[in-house]
Amino acid sequence: MTVVTKMKGFAAATGFAATLLTGGATYAFADDVTLTMAVPDWPPTRVMKKFFDEQYKPASGNKVKLDVDFIPWPDFYTRVNASLTSGEQKYNFIVSDSQWLGAFVEGGYYRKINDLVDADPDFKKTMESIHPAVYNAYSTYPYKSANLYGFPQFPDVLVTYGRKDVLCNDEEQAAFKAKYNEKLPCTGDEISNMDWNTFEHIGEFFMRKKGEKLAGQVLDDDFYGIAYQAGKGYDFSTTSVHTFMWQHGGNIWDETKAPTGHAEGVVNSPESIAGMEHFLKLLKYMPPVVKTGTMDIFVSDQLFREGKVAMNVDWVGLGEASLDPKSSKVSDKLVFGMAPGLRGADGKIDHTEQIGGQPFVLTTWTTPEQTKEAVAFVKWWLSPEMQNKFAAAGGQSAIKSVYEDPKYATYRPWNKAFAESLDWQKDMWHVPQFFELLTQQQDQFDLAITGKQDAKTTMDNVAKFQEDLLKNAGLIQ
């Protein structure tokens, strides 16, 4: 025991010496503040860094430098986790998936910002301008509590990517109508108003073999109707499955109800199982790679960009690549709508879905000096002006005045669907045990996806595991 804590003590106290040696960046002099930030390497963070360098003028008059460590996505968690847990204390800002909050708050790494919000009315106003669903998902731990931690970096939602040339083709429209007695969705609004049944029909309808015709053209390769994530890695089936579970009236283990809420009886409730079954039912209309359990968000996106599927449900954050003619064979044939939902008895569609995207957070070893500059920076970043610029450069914003502005929809073809989806966003657990919950669940879902066990067994196994684990952790009584 003494060894570990002692070493961590060492680490804290030697910050200054270490900084001098490494030429590192955690410490700064009075008028020369450096903020070190760990971010995944992708356009939204590149844009943020660019804007900062080009446009940020600190009100304090200090010289503020944003030192950004761009880490490739696949290794981002590994790098950040190792840095935090080893006591490296290298970063002041960290871009963090929302589900990581609990683990790193409990570890003492993420700084609670309630005091900063309370002390600064402007800051408070900024925080309140965030869409509540996003605010809860990105900022609170425990989920939906009053404890605040993060600010939106890139809010992300699932939307439907469609191919206009296929969906709006007259022949296909007519044939679809004849077969299912419903209109084949073609415009963004029609897609936003699409339920899973229509989505399923599209899947069935557009399964074509090589040599058959599609929209009047002879196919030189197999074609598939639909795709969504159903992969074993990270959370690449959980997001889909949660969406289905919620829409069917089931639920995941709800941490806002801890410690009286249960996993058993909830996660494997008939509604949740029905959601799972629905999720599994659609897989048979998807490209064959789904059978290998590796159809993650990137694989389904790639299939869509290569023109192998008619529709794909995927993150908004992956949209840029499909617009670029270099990386997309369908760049001029795109149409976007909200992700499909479940039509209720009242005819209304339930679009509840799992939120994606990332907040960024402050770390506990950030000095008051740095914190002051950090808050100023966050306020600037979340200001409507910057958020508009960010959105125009391909980012997304959860600031009300920004996404509600009519010009927001003009920035990118999916922005309308994005704004409409915000109300429906929910998040998974923020508890420190999230990775154990996630890993076991992903393993179980993978077994179901690859046809090794049925939905009920899967959900029973997940529920039992979660019940045991959370009981041990004291989160379930």
């Binding site: 025991m1 060894v3 570990v4 804590t5 002692k6 003590g9 060492f10 106290a13 030697t14 200054f16 010496a17 968690y77 590994t78 986790n81 190792a82 935090l84 847990t85 080893s86 683990a103 790193f104 409990e106 570890g107 003492g108 790494y109 390769d221 197999d222 992969g231 074993k232 890695g233 490209p287 064959p288 790679v289 059978k291 290998t292 359990g293 590796t294 299939l303 290569e306 192998k308 420190p432 990775f435 154990e436 890993t439 393993d443 993978d446 690859t450 595991f465 045991d468 684990l469």
Partner: protein, 340 residues
């Protein structure tokens, strides 16, 4: 006690006293360097002592031991120590629990099945990949054993796979195996007209991983075996030709004794590496289709879930197995060579 630069006992005593005093009295970032200086003092005393006594062995080995100790052995001992505590790297609390981690990873209802499953899979991968590498590496080496025109240029082609980074080769193998874009499915579909998916069953996924791994690392085995082959004096083969010894007998009586040592070395190193198989699995299946290996499992436990001490316990159990296995190899190798 005599005061002289080679008196290491005195140096240790002084070092200990000063270190303890510094650790108590001074802030850590100062005492750290003082403790370091004391360690250097002790080391210097050892070196001077060894030099004066003409104890060159110790002198020569010292730098290597020092580097290994700081960079490898100290972290290893640290992890070993942690395996007796209840400790998660993302939490501040730590408490001694003896062997509980070991019993937990072996018997706990929630944890143990996954551990055992990963272990069984790892054993399977070790056997399959190492066997495949040994066979392919050996056959390649046989091809290259004789001198022939352009050998140098063809050999480098075969050596290239092991120079690739695992990320690139793993990602590209996932492409080769992809049912929509990949070459494998394209060729098989063109022949059978069906829809071939390699990675949709355990057998297929294991084949895919083993193939990629064997492809990458057979050249390593080849190089060692080839080195053995070219070291066989040519006249032995000439004598065998004149004595009309069959190829089969030639191999076992002449060739094999020369390559046995190197094959054992290859086997040793490849086995050690095979136990660490994780990257390819992550890139190709994410552990799906029951291909989870103990090393990947360990990454999840120790890194993703931050269960540091349980991870340490698993890795020490694994280390124990590797040590037993490698010692078995070495024992057999020594016994055989003494029998000669």
């Amino acid at each position: 006690m005599r005061l002289s630069p080679d008196n290491w006992k005195l140096a240790i005593l002084v070092g200990l006293v000063v270190s303890v005093l510094a650790a108590i009295a001074l802030p850590p970032h100062v005492s750290f360097w003082i403790v370091g200086a004391m360690a250097a003092l002790v080391a210097a005393a050892f070196v001077v002592n060894a030099y004066r006594r003409k104890y060159y062995g110790g002198l020569l080995v010292a730098p290597a031991i020092a580097v290994l100790f700081v960079m490898n052995i100290f972290p290893l001992l640290w992890s070993l120590g942690l395996s007796f505590f209840a400790y998660q790297s993302n939490q501040q609390s730590i408490r001694f629990i003896g062997l509980a981690n070991y019993t937990k990873v072996l018997t706990n209802d929630i944890m143990a099945p996954a551990n055992w499953g990963a272990l069984v899979n790892t054993a399977m991968f070790v056997v399959l990949t190492v066997t495949a590498q040994m066979i392919v590496g050996f056959l390649l080496a046989m091809l290259f054993a004789k001198q022939f025109p352009l050998r140098k240029y063809l050999l480098i082609l075969v050596l290239t796979p092991m120079m690739l980074s695992v990320v690139a080769s793993g990602v590209f193998f996932s492409y080769y195996y992809d049912p929509t874009f990949g070459i494998l499915s394209y060729v098989i579909n063109a022949i059978t007209g069906g829809q071939f998916i390699l990675m949709d069953s355990k057998a297929g996924a294991v084949t895919g991983i083993v193939f990629a791994d064997a492809w990458m690392w057979s050249p390593f085995v080849m190089l060692l075996v080839l080195a053995g082959l070219v070291s066989v004096p040519k006249y032995l083969y000439e004598a065998a030709a004149i004595d009309r010894v069959s190829k089969w007998r030639q191999f076992w009586t002449i060739t094999f004794p020369y390559i046995r040592g190197l094959m054992m070395l290859a086997l040793l190193f490849r086995t050690i590496e095979a136990f660490k198989l994780a990257d390819l699995v992550i890139l190709l299946t994410k552990g799906g289709n029951d291909t989870m290996t103990i090393s990947y499992h360990l990454i999840r436990i120790a890194n993703e879930q931050n269960k540091t001490s349980e991870g340490a316990a698993i890795s020490y159990l694994m280390l124990f197995m590797v040590i037993v296995l490698t010692n078995l190899y070495l024992y057999i190798a020594n016994r055989r060579s003494q029998g000669d």
